[in-house]
């Protein structure tokens, strides 16, 4: 009977429902009665047919953060595209090796920037719909650059004033 309920609902409430069924069972009763079975099926139908409830406030916050991530990504992409010419003018005279490294970075950002924006918006949409994996993906997206930045800061030489 409990299998009629949505999987997530069963996971969250199955134990409790089972506890109540056992507490309300008659002495020696080993199977759910007809009235109880009909009530459980009715309850399961209500849960399956009920319109989705508004998500909790924390989900709204997470969705807003993901949209902010997309906005920041878009702003960075526009900045890089607009200033690419100036960067080229400044870097090209320094030598082909340095310019080549910057060019690779610029191209990567220009190509993957829009993809990253779409991914941020897709995570926001999925999180708003209640998909657990979207929150996990967001954590990975946030944790990876944070880990890279931390590693970079750890490797960078300390900025100490040189003695004169």
């Amino acid at each position: 009977m409990l299998a009629c309920y949505p999987k997530a609902y069963r996971r969250d409430n199955g134990d409790e429902i089972l506890g109540v069924l056992m507490a309300t069972a008659r002495e020696g009763q080993r199977r759910v009665g007809l009235a109880e079975s009909a009530d459980l099926v009715r309850g399961a139908l209500r849960m399956r047919l009920r319109p989705p409830s508004p998500p909790p406030r924390s989900v709204f916050t997470a969705v807003r953060l993901m949209c902010a991530g997309a906005a920041v990504e878009l702003a960075a992409w526009i900045t890089i595209v607009v200033t690419a010419g100036s960067v080229k003018s400044a870097m090209a005279p320094r030598g082909p090796a340095q310019w080549h490294a910057v060019l690779v970075h610029l191209v990567a950002v220009e190509v993957f920037g829009p993809i990253a924006i779409v991914v941020w918006l897709w995570m926001a949409w999925a999180n708003g719909r209640g998909h657990e994996w979207a929150r996990l993906l967001f954590m990975s997206f946030f944790a990876s650059p944070l880990r890279a930045c931390s590693a970079g800061w750890a490797r960078a030489p300390p900025c100490t004033p040189q003695p004169t």
Binding site: E16, L21, T24, D39, S53
Partner: protein
């Protein structure tokens, strides 16, 4: 803006929680007692109602315990739930009073 009338089962569930937190079986027992045996909630009816009341933030989870290896949740009224229950009780009281006054009047005129 007028608030829709509450269903009797919902009203009784909130009433059962009015003087302290209860778990599912406790709510069923209290509701039967409050209604004088007339309303017998079952698990299939109760838990979707509890879920809806939690979504509407009229009740919340007070605590959880493990009893005989199974999770047992205790529910409590939220301040919003207390306010809603009080408003509904006042509405029902006003309606019942109006009906009884008119019935008494009608009975007085008939005799």
């Amino acid at each position: 803006m007028s608030i829709r009338a509450m269903q009797e089962a919902t009203f009784l569930i909130l009433t059962a929680l009015a003087d302290g937190s209860q778990h599912g079986y406790g709510i069923i027992t209290e509701v039967r007692e409050i209604s004088g045996g007339r309303v017998r909630l079952r698990a299939g009816t109760l838990y979707p109602d509890l879920d809806r009341l939690r979504t509407d933030e009229l009740i919340g989870v007070d605590r959880e315990e493990i009893v005989e290896g199974r999770l047992r949740r205790y529910y409590r009224l939220t301040p919003a739930g207390t306010k809603r229950l009080a408003a509904e009780a006042a509405r029902l009281h006003a309606n019942a009073t109006a009906a009884l006054v008119r019935l008494n009047l009608a009975g007085g005129m008939a005799t």
